[in-house]
């Protein structure tokens, strides 16, 4: 017949303080005002991106119309121009082309501008290069980073603090400073304009941030877990694999996203150390400007094609990003 003390009543969370001076219509109004301000801010933040997105689907005249057009007929003209090489048709050729009925949808679109497709542009290849180089360097930098971070976290390595600071300080240098000697080096050993060369460079640049970030995350995992495993007979490697790694997953995820985004977005190194074979998208996008006048819808399309993966990743992994961006300051899920 034991009377148990009942579990504490769960509190429905209140969005505002219920202090005597804070009760009334004011907190409700305050909440609404805040939402409005936040929406305005978000709109300002996103307007350029949204505008660019719209421009990517506009025809060229629409893209540069005065006053700027908010309502327009969407077209894939920009994207087609982005991925193809074209030449101008003479008036005579136009007649012939108009009569044909075996043209695919892309050719139909360029026909409107009196052009025909003569081949693929290099953009698809450049995007692929971006994927390869960013992907490989991310994987490498996270793997090496986790190992180094674990070693720095758990062991007293001679000169640890200086070493860590030196590693981190790499991030403080402008890219150009490091590039000049590497340019010479790469030229001499044949790594200039190669995937391998870029992957090595990106990996080492990412390492500085990822080691520092991951060490912070691993520091938070109590040593007692591994020590218990060691007592149970595991080797240190096994303890690392079975205990530390699973606990560090969110930290690893945050670091991975960061390294990936940095490598993906990187411009300076790619500009100076690649030419054709290994050229990634960022150095190429501004150059889209140069093909026979300013094709804004094409540039917008290129920008969009490049940005969309990042926007998707940002949304999908926002919690990890928030942790990483604030250097681990934001803890909650």
């Amino acid at each position: 017949m034991a009377t148990q003390s009942a579990p504490p009543p769960s509190r429905t969370p209140v969005n505002y303080s219920t202090r005597v001076d804070k009760v009334g219509w004011r907190p409700q109004a305050g909440s609404i005002v805040r939402t409005i301000v936040a929406v305005i801010i978000a709109f300002i933040m996103l307007l350029p991106v949204i505008w660019m997105g719209m421009t990517a689907f506009k025809s060229l005249p629409d893209a540069v119309s005065v006053p700027p057009k908010v309502f327009f007929t969407p077209t894939l003209e920009g994207f087609v121009n982005l991925f193809t090489q074209r030449r101008q048709l003479s008036d005579a050729e136009m007649e012939a082309y108009r009569a044909r009925d075996d043209l695919n949808w892309a050719q139909d679109i360029v026909l409107e501008r009196q052009q025909t497709i003569i081949g693929r542009s290099q953009f698809a290849q450049q995007l692929t290069n971006s994927v390869i180089i960013a992907g490989s360097s991310t994987i490498l930098s996270v793997v090496f980073g986790v190992l180094a971070a674990y070693a720095f976290s758990r062991f007293n390595i001679p000169g640890k603090d200086d070493l860590l600071f030196f590693i981190l300080s790499q991030r403080m240098l402008p890219a150009v400073v490091v590039t000049v000697p590497i340019f010479l080096m790469y030229k001499q050993i044949g790594l200039y304009d190669t995937h391998l060369g870029m992957i090595l460079l990106y990996t080492s640049f990412n390492l500085s941030f990822s080691v520092w970030l991951l060490k912070g995350f691993i520091d938070e995992i109590p040593k007692e877990y591994e020590e218990a495993a060691l007592v149970d007979g595991y080797t240190r490697l096994q303890a690392f694999r079975k205990i530390v790694l699973p606990q560090a997953v969110t930290g690893i995820a945050a670091t991975t996203v960061f390294s990936a985004i940095f490598s993906w977005n990187e411009y300076a190194f790619a500009l100076m150390l690649t030419q054709e074979r290994a050229r990634t998208a960022p150095p190429s996008i501004p150059l889209i400007l140069g093909t026979g006048g300013i094709e804004w819808s094409t540039i917008a399309a290129g920008s969009m094609a490049f940005l969309i993966p990042v926007v998707i990743v940002t949304f999908a992994l926002r919690k990890h990003l928030l942790r990483g961006v604030t250097f681990g300051a934001i803890r909650k899920g």
């Binding site: 009377t3 003390s5 009942a6 504490p8 509190r11 429905t12 219920t18 005597v20 001076d21 009760v23």
Partner: protein, 365 residues
């Protein structure tokens, strides 16, 4: 100094009651303790008195003044927080001086009062340090000094000893009580520790599940708990509560023991119990006595040797352990049968369904 009245004070968060409608009077100069497990509503009640929580309905009066909707700073109260709430970038002296400065007191007056209060609490030597460099006990003393310096109408304390080490807790407990006696200040003190409550309170208000279970002096709460919750919550260990069946002047326990009910209880039990005669019998560990002629018998389950006394744990029946305090320094073997008696003036009875204590019919008017 003032009497504090709570009239039908209630607090809801959304649809949930944090404090069900409550009436309470705190007398001028009284040290009243709000006691209960976490989530029972004691802290919310304290915060409503202070103004840190607005009431959902009801009225709070300080003397004649209706303070229900007054800002905390207008109620003339001081609040001591569990985690000290000191301004880390000011020295201890500046922290203590702050409330007076905010009131616009003269510099000389402020200095005088701060020194006075620091002397009272023995913290003169830390006045020029920052809170971050002080021990927990000293930080709480500074917080107390800050509360004292204004001479408010009432002191409100929210588990002030909760963040301190055990050794500090004992010292501070005595200091707070001594301060209260010196200052004659009305104090409302919240804690979940019943030892603290028993040691410090003039009156204890036991709360559970947003409802006041009993409001009485420590002696009353200890010897005459109003219901099973209070009986169990107060005392370490709590009161022994054993189910039994009452019939014809005798209590029949599971496990075979039989106990003759004292005469002054017989009529109460006969009238207030259901037809099946089920009742909960309550007695404190010190109310029982080991005796070879004892009516009750149980098997030894464990011994706790405390040096000056032994806490015997006896198994009356399966899953029913009884705790008895003996003066013996030797212990019994596990499994030994022990006979014991319960002091007839110290036995209590509770209704099995309502869980309320039964009161002797002769005492009712």
């Amino acid at each position: 100094m003032a009497t504090i009245h709570l009239n039908q004070v209630e607090k809801k968060f959304g649809d949930q009651f944090a404090v069900k409608p409550l009436d309470m009077t705190i007398h001028d100069g009284e040290f009243i303790v709000l006691l209960g497990p976490s989530g029972c509503g004691k802290t919310t009640t304290l915060r409503m008195i202070s103004g840190l929580e607005a009431v959902t309905s009801g009225q709070i009066l300080f003397g004649e003044r209706d303070v229900t909707w007054l800002h905390p700073s207008e109620r003339d109260i001081a609040f001591v927080f569990q985690f000290f709430a000191l301004y880390s970038h000011l020295t201890a002296r500046e922290n203590i001086a702050f409330p007076l400065q905010a009131q616009g007191e003269s510099r000389d007056m402020v200095k005088k009062r701060v020194n006075e209060v620091a002397k009272m609490l023995n913290i003169e030597h830390v006045l020029n340090s920052r809170p971050g460099s002080l021990s927990g006990g000293d930080q709480q003393r500074v917080a107390l000094a800050r509360a004292l310096v204004r001479r408010p109408a009432a002191f409100l304390m929210d588990e002030p000893l909760g963040a301190l080490d055990a050794e500090f807790r004992d010292t501070m407990r005595a200091e707070i009580k001594r301060l209260h006696i010196d200052q004659h200040a009305t104090t409302v003190y919240v804690t979940h520790d019943q030892i603290e409550a028993m040691a410090m309170g003039d009156r204890i208000v036991v709360m559970s599940n947003a409802v006041v279970q009993q409001a009485a002096t420590p002696t009353d709460v200890y010897h005459n708990p109003a219901n099973i919750f209070v009986a169990r919550f107060i005392g370490s260990p709590g009161m022994n509560l054993i189910p039994a069946r009452y019939q014809g002047g005798v209590l029949y326990f599971d496990g075979g023991s039989v106990y003759t009910v004292p005469d002054d209880w017989k009529s109460t039990l006969a009238a207030d119990l259901g037809s099946d005669g089920r009742v909960i019998v309550g007695f404190r560990p010190e109310a029982a006595q080991v005796s070879s002629e004892g009516q009750l018998v149980a098997k030894t389950y464990a011994n706790d040797l405390h040096g000056g006394y032994t806490m015997l744990h006896l198994e009356l029946d399966k899953d029913q352990i009884v705790h008895i305090r003996t003066n013996r320094e030797t212990s019994y073997n596990i499994g030994d049968l022990v006979h014991f008696d319960v002091n007839p003036t110290m036995v209590r009875f509770f209704h099995p369904e309502t869980e309320m204590a039964l009161t002797k019919r002769d005492n009712r008017s």
